[in-house]
Symmetry: C2
Subunit: 397 residues, 2 copies
């Protein structure tokens, strides 16, 4: 079945020599010859990488022609030279696509603190621009070029009918470690041929990120490079989206972003479970997120799920130090639908049945209900396994 | 060499049947026949255990006669019944020592969410009270009775000359997992024969905890049961300590508390390194602690040190999401004395030399210097190893 790729974009991905394995793509170009409206959301880390600085200054935009991405080197913590390198990398991509230098965006991911191998990138960008294509194979090569420790590509495409027109949306992302809260927590691109204003694009993207990429973690370490871009070529034709049409589009985009975002903890380094933590009954969505994230980031919770152990005390006690006020005697907890704890006291339950349900499924559902209000959130994270530790003790500087 | 045990205390520890292994003590009594001034600091977790509720209400006090501790069962998340059980456990200890019921303190540690086996505890307390003794062997048995996953006892004793008198101080603590920031993060008792007022005892204990047990973590999970008690029998004789004498005492107590506290991450579950994270150049000590703790709690930092990898990017980026504002271009970093990063940019350094220095020593020194102010702190944590994950995936409910 062919992908629903948006009109107005060309793709390429290839190996330019950053990654050691010559079979692995490490450079991606996404070209929009007619120009695209572009929006971005970025890491909240104070220590942000050079490409984040470049893109943050260039979005929202009414006319971006090309996005260039390298994997294997994050160009983070590289000082003034890193900033010049990121600008140069964007300029090289623009030049290869006959576009003005400032109409390019740039993303990098990989090891922190090494300078970009600019000669390799320059040669790679030239080659890459010669292979740009609108087809599925080119899109998939581009999706491979942004990966680092991911086990495979993370993509989604969809055709949406909105206001009598067919709009295509495609998304790709990467991420399997250094995935924390606060923003995109990865690299991601959402591409569409819908026609959007820059302001609408920025507003919709922020809402979408809030419900998707801001609700996931692997180990809670907020990366220096997190970037999520939305590019809208307008090539589907018709008027700029507004009203109900814009809503339809935004809803589809949100669903696709959640689908992409969940793939990240599911592919978390060494992960054997993705844990869906639903916190409800809070005064605000922010409070629910804070509690869910604290549970998600507890190594004790993550190891318990890895071991198939319904150790609910670790979950309830993590909620207790999240920094949100609540009455502990009004707390309920269920794991995989089994009630475990009610109104602040343990229930009698069959630990073996719950343990079996954890072991039998890739996804574990943790539902914590407070008695404070009507808000809630779902947050996804990975469990913590021996393989995560092995991988990260060996990933070398 | 004999221990410097304070006068006015008797100790006992034995196995009463909570732990499976009959060789392991799981019940401790500390008796102060003449009464002791007592102070306490407790977990900041909203979900706090029943014994914490009891002790919090009873300290500071001018007359505590006995402390009873069990290990193997935390009596946490046990609702109203748990609270009644904690009060009953304290009452049993008071009764066995011919003291009024409310003059007892109680601590519990172990699995969350199970009710205390009160019959075993009642029989154990009676037997324990018959074995109370002032000697070193009794003190060490008491120190063993509070342990859970610890590899060994954590104790320190010292004789201090203050105002012409000899004052003895003894401390014991336990903790190897579920060790997070915000308060004692373990069970601990500091015992002295100095004469203190309840208010001085409480103030000094708070300062001491702030510099010691509040500067450690294993995985950052704040326990439900953290309790640090200070008991002062006054049996050394003389006046109540004040002025310079009180200062001398407080300084010794602080040094001993740091010595005890550092033993916890050093004994962290599966730990192969204790990481001493010094953050300096901040506007306040609180900001320094917040950054140090964020670095300490990053699984990526902990796994890097476990692997002997000077992956400074993980350290600097963790500082960046600690929630403290600073200028990233004014940051310096050294690992084990080797300068790695200066003014926001990487230095050339021999990664093999730094890696060897990490591998060769049990303690790794991480020094992060900001350019924002004159305050600083040292925070101790464990590295994260395969054995931590194995242990915590298997520790069963």
């Amino acid at each position: 079945m062919p992908l629903h790729l948006p009109l107005g974009f060309r793709f390429a991905g290839l190996h330019c020599g950053i990654k050691k394995n010559p079979q692995k793509e490490d450079l991606t170009l996404v070209h929009c010859p007619g120009g695209a409206v572009a929006a971005g959301v970025y890491t909240q880390n104070l220590v942000y990488a050079a490409p984040v600085a470049v893109d943050r200054a260039r979005t929202p935009s009414s006319d971006i022609r090309v996005v260039v991405v390298n994997s294997g080197n994050a160009n983070a913590c590289t000082g003034e030279r890193g900033l010049r390198d990121a600008e140069e990398m964007a300029r090289l991509a623009a030049e290869a696509c006959d576009a003005p230098a400032e109409k390019a965006l740039v993303m990098s991911t990989g090891i922190i603190g090494h300078f970009l191998p600019l000669e390799k990138i320059a040669a790679g960008v030239r080659r890459c621009s010669q292979g740009l294509d609108t087809g599925d194979a080119a899109f998939m090569a581009a999706a491979r070029g942004i990966l680092t420790s991911d086990k495979g590509t993370k993509t989604t495409t969809r055709a949406v009918t909105s206001g009598g027109r067919t709009i295509n949306i495609a998304g790709m992302c990467k991420g399997a470690g250094m995935i924390g809260p606060n923003m995109a927590t990865m690299l991601g691109m959402l591409l569409t041929d819908a026609k959007l204003s820059p302001d609408d694009a920025q507003r919709v993207l922020k809402e979408v990120a809030d419900a998707s990429f801001n609700c996931i973690s692997v180990e809670g370490h907020t990366s220096t490079n997190d970037t999520l871009l939305l590019l809208a070529s307008g090539a589907a034709g018709g008027e700029q989206l507004s009203g109900a049409d814009l809503q339809t589009f935004a809803q589809a985009l949100k669903e696709m972003a959640i689908e992409l975002a969940k793939q990240i903890p599911d592919d978390g380094e060494g992960a054997t479970h993705v844990i869906a933590i639903t916190v409800q009954g809070t005064k605000s969505r922010g409070e629910a997120r804070q509690i869910a994230q604290t549970i998600a980031d507890s190594a004790l919770v993550k190891t318990a799920i890895a071991g198939g152990d319904p150790n609910w005390g670790r979950i309830v006690s993590a909620a207790g130090y999240a920094g949100v006020k609540f009455d502990p005697t009004k707390v309920d907890l269920a794991i995989n639908g089994h009630p475990i704890y009610r109104q602040g006291a343990p229930l009698t339950f069959d630990a073996r049945t719950v343990s079996q349900s954890i072991k039998a499924s890739r996804e574990t559902a943790v539902e914590l209900t407070l008695g404070e209000g009507q808000e809630g959130i779902t947050f996804w994270t990975s469990d913590l396994t021996v393989d995560y530790v092995k991988f990260n003790a060996d990933y070398s500087t």
